[in-house]
Symmetry: C2
Subunit: 356 residues, 2 copies
């Protein structure tokens, strides 16, 4: 599997007239050769590839790394790699300028003397954003774990419980049911805290009549789930109900737009159009969604400024929200595979307003 991905990279090298690509971003390293540790460097040339890490991972690489030659060494990893590859004088080596520090570049320059380092921002994004069958199944598994956790955690969402008790329980159950761990710290935002899109979970106790937004997800073999549901604890007021219905309509409407070939910003625009018809568009202050994979935020972006065109096999979140200061918030988020003529929902939790 990773062999094929490395060959895909080689095709990019030819197309971009590069002699090699140096990969230092850990999720990209994991994608290309399976390594899940915290220190590694991969060089892919037109004819070979070498992965380097340090002695702590000598055992782990034997189990994980499949594809490139492996070199375990001390000191700068570029120095471990350089003697093992032959590059022509003046070779063009591509790198990702967002993921490369000034200090790393200076080390690489002294390891690969005479090479020309060429920035290729986002070179691997198209490759990584389109998922193969195994990646979709891994994501499906992560979603299944999170959905099981959701069902087990719902009975504790009652008046008087603290937000962080719910968050702690989600984390516990994710691990217990076989996830690598949370994909991110769960958000539990009740009542007026629901108006903070990135609220975390606080000591606040949930009260009757409030909406509670819970945004959670896990990793399974590195692949992420990312789900949000908003529930009512006791009967919510009519304005809160209307907010909920508007967000649900926006979420369902934008889901219907998803298919390969559509501009991501058009899907985002549809979500906003529907919220505008409810006069709630000013309260939707983030983008509609993002790619999901070995990273919790990947390409493509579903946002007003996105230039991405959706492609078959991409996994994205669709998560419109409305946040009214002093009142509360609603967000509904599913994980979806983009398909040629539509979409496959990975999430299956019900979306009608649940009154607990």
């Amino acid at each position: 599997m990773t062999r094929r991905r490395l060959d895909d990279v080689r095709r990019l090298l030819v197309a971009r007239r590069l002699d090699a690509l140096v990969v230092s971003h850990l999720p990209q390293i994991r994608y290309l050769c399976g390594f899940s540790g915290s220190n590694g460097l991969l060089l892919v040339t037109r004819t070979t590839d070498v992965f380097a890490t340090d002695g702590r991972y000598a055992e782990q690489v034997k189990q994980e790394v499949n594809g490139p030659r492996v070199a375990v060494g001390a000191g700068p990893l570029a120095d471990v790699i350089a003697p093992r590859v032959r590059l022509r004088r003046g070779a063009r080596i591509g790198f990702d300028p967002e993921q490369t520090s000034i200090a790393a570049m200076s080390r690489w320059r002294s390891s690969f003397r005479g090479a020309m380092f060429t920035p290729v921002p986002g070179l691997l994004d198209p490759l990584i954003s389109v998922k193969d069958h195994d990646e979709i199944e891994a994501t499906r598994r992560a979603v299944a774990i999170s959905e099981r956790v959701w069902k087990e955690v719902l009975p504790m969402v009652v008046p008087g419980v603290r937000e962080m008790e719910i968050a702690a329980r989600i984390t516990f159950l994710h691990r217990l049911h076989g996830a690598d761990g949370d994909g991110f710290e769960p958000i539990v935002a009740s009542g007026p805290r629901g108006a903070l899109p990135h609220a975390g979970a606080s000591e606040r106790r949930i009260r009757r009549g409030e909406l509670v937004t819970i945004d959670f997800g896990c990793r399974w073999k590195g692949y992420h789930s990312d789900i949000t549901r908003t529930v009512a604890v006791g009967r919510p007021s009519p304005p809160l109900r209307r907010m909920y219905q508007a967000v649900l309509e926006s979420q369902l409407g934008s889901l219907l737009m998803l298919r390969a070939g559509v501009a991501a910003r058009e899907v985002d625009a549809e979500a906003r159009r529907i919220l505008r018809s409810h006069r709630l568009q000013p309260y939707f202050r983030h983008s509609l969604g993002h790619g999901l994979g070995l990273q919790i935020h990947e390409q493509p972006r579903l946002a007003p400024t996105s230039s991405d065109i959706l492609r078959d096999g991409q996994i994205v979140t669709v998560e419109p929200g409305v946040y009214v200061p002093g009142v509360g918030g609603v967000r509904i988020e599913d994980d979806v595979v983009v398909r040629p003529h539509g979409r496959d929902l990975l999430t299956s939790l019900p979306k009608d307003l649940l009154v607990l």
Copy 2:
């Protein structure tokens, strides 16, 4: 508090003949101005300071940021800052080359045209590594939460339990008892898995007669605890007992060396010397310890190659270990404040071999 830290930075600017310092590393931003979000940039000049973030954090900065002027804006944060400060033509702006990407530098250069960017690796490390009273108390609180968790989790360390059940419980209890969350994913390594220093926690079930190494810690207001204990589940074999006693002796001996003015590598050497007297030194394959603060790994490093001299108020871990492939492992780790004439232990859990 952060006002004083910003003034300390200004003294460094004068000493290093810089006109300004740009700070992009989030833990350093948190240290200097209190901001705990995920996107920010701070510029400190000799006369002023400006912190910039995006619209998501408009509310959060009001609660958190204390000291610098705050600017909330869209687009590159350096563009948000630049119009708000006056720098002379050719101003020398310091930056950390390990924490600055090639892409960020190119954005900064276009925001601060005509400035001379000067790498100052580790400039803030001495400042950040020495903790003030509030920082030590925050760490003490994090340690107290973790020690409470330890006592509550011990009864479940029995034959038949899976490592990850213990890890999940630790995470749950950390949150429940008021931590921000884990400081890192707990390590639970039983039996032969104890020979992997970075083992994580697996599906493996603990068996009678095994040693179990548990390495865990939390964050409280950003400050970390980091504790390891190795316990025996049922009576361990004499060789395992001897391993334990050797590591304990090494840990106690190196603790005794800790005081301000001592070279960190000497403390590390003492731990190795004691293990050598037990013929176990080849099985100690990582460094003795690290600084602890807003980051889980900070300066100083207690390692054979360290050039750090210990200073009053630094918080460090002391964690010798022995890892014998196929047999198992032992690690014992405390958190300690370096003092002029010795050390203050922050951890208080017993260290005699606990046979459960």
